[in-house]
Symmetry: D2
Amino acid sequence: MRYAYLGPEGTFTEAALRAVDADADALACPTIQSALTAVREGAADRAVVAIESSVEGIVTATVDELATGGGDLAIAAELQIPVAFALLVRPGAALSDIKTVGGHPQAMPQCRGWLAANLPDGEWIPAASNAEAARQVGDGQLDAALAGAFAADRYGLEILASEVHDRPNAVTRFVVVAPTGPLPAPTGTDRTSLAAFLADDRPGALLEILTEFAVRGINLTTIQSRPTGDRLGQYYFYVDCEGHVDDARVGEALMGLRRVCADVRFLGSYARCDGGRTQVRPGTSDAEFAEAAAWLGRLRFGRV
Amino acid sequence: MRYAYLGPEGTFTEAALRAVDADADALACPTIQSALTAVREGAADRAVVAIESSVEGIVTATVDELATGGGDLAIAAELQIPVAFALLVRPGAALSDIKTVGGHPQAMPQCRGWLAANLPDGEWIPAASNAEAARQVGDGQLDAALAGAFAADRYGLEILASEVHDRPNAVTRFVVVAPTGPLPAPTGTDRTSLAAFLADDRPGALLEILTEFAVRGINLTTIQSRPTGDRLGQYYFYVDCEGHVDDARVGEALMGLRRVCADVRFLGSYARCDGGRTQVRPGTSDAEFAEAAAWLGRLRFGRV
Amino acid sequence: MRYAYLGPEGTFTEAALRAVDADADALACPTIQSALTAVREGAADRAVVAIESSVEGIVTATVDELATGGGDLAIAAELQIPVAFALLVRPGAALSDIKTVGGHPQAMPQCRGWLAANLPDGEWIPAASNAEAARQVGDGQLDAALAGAFAADRYGLEILASEVHDRPNAVTRFVVVAPTGPLPAPTGTDRTSLAAFLADDRPGALLEILTEFAVRGINLTTIQSRPTGDRLGQYYFYVDCEGHVDDARVGEALMGLRRVCADVRFLGSYARCDGGRTQVRPGTSDAEFAEAAAWLGRLRFGRV
Amino acid sequence: MRYAYLGPEGTFTEAALRAVDADADALACPTIQSALTAVREGAADRAVVAIESSVEGIVTATVDELATGGGDLAIAAELQIPVAFALLVRPGAALSDIKTVGGHPQAMPQCRGWLAANLPDGEWIPAASNAEAARQVGDGQLDAALAGAFAADRYGLEILASEVHDRPNAVTRFVVVAPTGPLPAPTGTDRTSLAAFLADDRPGALLEILTEFAVRGINLTTIQSRPTGDRLGQYYFYVDCEGHVDDARVGEALMGLRRVCADVRFLGSYARCDGGRTQVRPGTSDAEFAEAAAWLGRLRFGRV
């Protein structure tokens, strides 16, 4: 199985990919978009991409590409890994040697406090990825990189400081993206992802969307407005909810969205990585949906 | 076809029955309950009973008997007739001769203003029906009766004053009740009636019921809480909504109620007598429901 | 203190009045409307009237007169009493002697089962009150009356059967109505009554009204639609909610109704007779309202 | 008046600052956070920072710093400017000379289509700002920069291609941030910004927040969930709504949020830059709020 990921080697995404499949044939890509495109075009079977950080929120490149790209991809699985930053330097370097620090643009805000306290005069130089910054440290273009400790070996660097991120317990959730096809079977601890494009930007539209879920007893685990790019104030909503599209209540909610939205893109139903069981409120189990459908059939046939 | 109705001859209900079928074989019954029981037990094919007055509201005997009686009856049709009261007396009698006035208990409140102005000292004597009061006038037990003008002939009375009701344009809606069986076909101007028994009396339960309709774009035309009789503050809700149970949105709403209520009794889908067309909001037509169901089927099969 | 009530002597209402004030100067009135009018016109200081039966529901004459009458009355207190029917006859009479049974129109449906089992051939004759039926038994016009056992003595009758009502534990709630004036102080177990007239009969109007209460965490204990009498399908809503108009959340909800309804009539805040404490959800106590108001004042003054 | 902004000279933010005050004493800062800190610490009177892009959505650095930073800043004004990218090169350079293209990380996604069509082999090098990329082009470190055309002069560059962004009409909204203090007066075309921190992450919490606005007829213009950083799935909501905190309906909604949320941070009320008038639904004007408050006062005093 060939996996595309945001390279180069040594990124957190590669660490996630190795957690999915330690022996994967890995295809490093320069951007999230190109990793997903590799799956679309058959250069890879699957892509592993970050989708949400406990610190920075939704990874907009992933979400936007899934929601507004070609439409032939779906999330097949998810996993989360702790995000622990280390400060990587060339062997022998000390803090006082560091003039420039690089990393992915999202790395800096996660280490802002540590940098302010320990490298107040260091200049921040964004790079395409943390691993790219590590590579540049190896090449001498930068003095230090914020990256996972596992990147040190690959680029011949030393760990000058570990755990330099401000928030302990930071995690990033990654998804495995595959071409659309048969869905993973429901497990009772599933998540369903979708993008809902509003029919218009009238005030109550979001309330209407939330009500489609609430009336069927479905918990949302993520909701995020994203600009459609057409003009300020025009959004689509990226939504993760509990349950599987094969669950009756989730299926009916999706049909409700389909009817009231301009467009709904289904982005997959898959087992949750955090093991939280789906809450099923009274009146919303598959058995209760089936019983109600049988009852309705009898009513329509003229029996009460 | 044999029809049971609230007799005796000369009631508004008989007038309604004649509007349904001028040549009906009519079975006069002493109460609304007994008229409905006659259909249940096969003594009549159908019953014509009042269900709502524009002045007095829901006719609770009808609603309670349909909602909590045997469960084997359904509304098959409806009609409304104007309710115009006349003051009926023995031939030759004048206002000054009237000491006692009788009628159905609901007749008096509809004529209260006229009575206060014209018969301030008249004593009100309730009767089992307006026609029964007219009969008693004929027998000399009462001096005057509030009843439909059409009752005068039958009991050998005169119309001393017509249009004695306080509100012009008062109407009563009647329903034709039949044993459950094949439903009337949808017409596009239908009404559906049901009784919803709450699972518990928690505060948000009514809001929850209303939301099941609202989220599917269904207008309610009547909603009425009725005591279940068990204790103060415990209710069921009688609901009339626009549309037919064969409409996808109405069917889904009924299934929703079935799932979240302790019990739902379906009381019929039938053509509205007022000709108002069912409002169908964007996203709630049968075609849109069908399209969404087909889309969901494709999703579940793994196609986006 | 002079109390008006629905007479004659021996009604359940008189029993309620005596429970309020055993030595009251009692003014028997022929109808609920006339009892309330007596207070309006100064012929009595207060009226005791039934407002809700656990069997028959809202007493529409009371509710309609409070909601649409002169507007100068309010509920000052409430109480509930058990409703136990007895069958009263002339001394020495037996079941087999009974051809006719009388009582208030609401008495019969509460005893229907007993009557069908024990007096299947008895004719039902409605009367203006149960006590009036008892009086007619004494006078020989009727053979038996459904009434409270306490009416037997007054009319020289015997109790042939007691507890003849079909449902045990039936109760009726009565209210003490007074001219508007200073309100009873909040007790923590209060009820507030009001009538809300919709601005128009658009579908979502009831949902809107319920939301004004729900968003402020207020439980409703009664909600009842009543026709305005203008035409079928046009309603006002009679509402009882938990709490006192002096409670911040109730006051804000009432202001919300005032703004979105065509009219709101306040019908009183008074101690509940059932002792149920008002539920106060997090964020809706008076202290939390006061804190939020102080915070808003600071914001508007330019402090965050 | 001294303004802090995201420098260096030549950024879109500087263009926005000049639109606010052409002769401002401008303090270039390396990050959005440092621009806001400059105001907090008195190094500048105000800061001009981007808050929303029609292409990329909310500017999370701005929103997070306002919502979770020191709490002593508020938005005093807003403006929006078109975002038009040009490709800047050293004088005389041609497309075929370009190996590397730099710019702010958000610049690339906005020009992705143009780059793919015209510079398919160009390597993308992120920079701290577009202007920094332009500076690097001037220094010979990069071959081309995506930046505003106005940056060309400052760095001695030429415009090789203009309007290279994929979406026409892209705009960015900027806000002027000042220390908290007296608010701008209401204009009838105002916006109010706030951050709402949920009391817990229960499913209905967002629905509850939206209802606080909806029940008072207030339109939202932006709503965005942001991680609190504590763990995945825990959010606060950044909200822009129509109207001014001095408007009665906005004030009451804010108090409602204050009561039901763990925390609410008010971020300012200020005139909208797009001139859209605040929609005031029936029943929600200041006059209607005042009338309802006067009515409530009378009720509490015992007058109906």
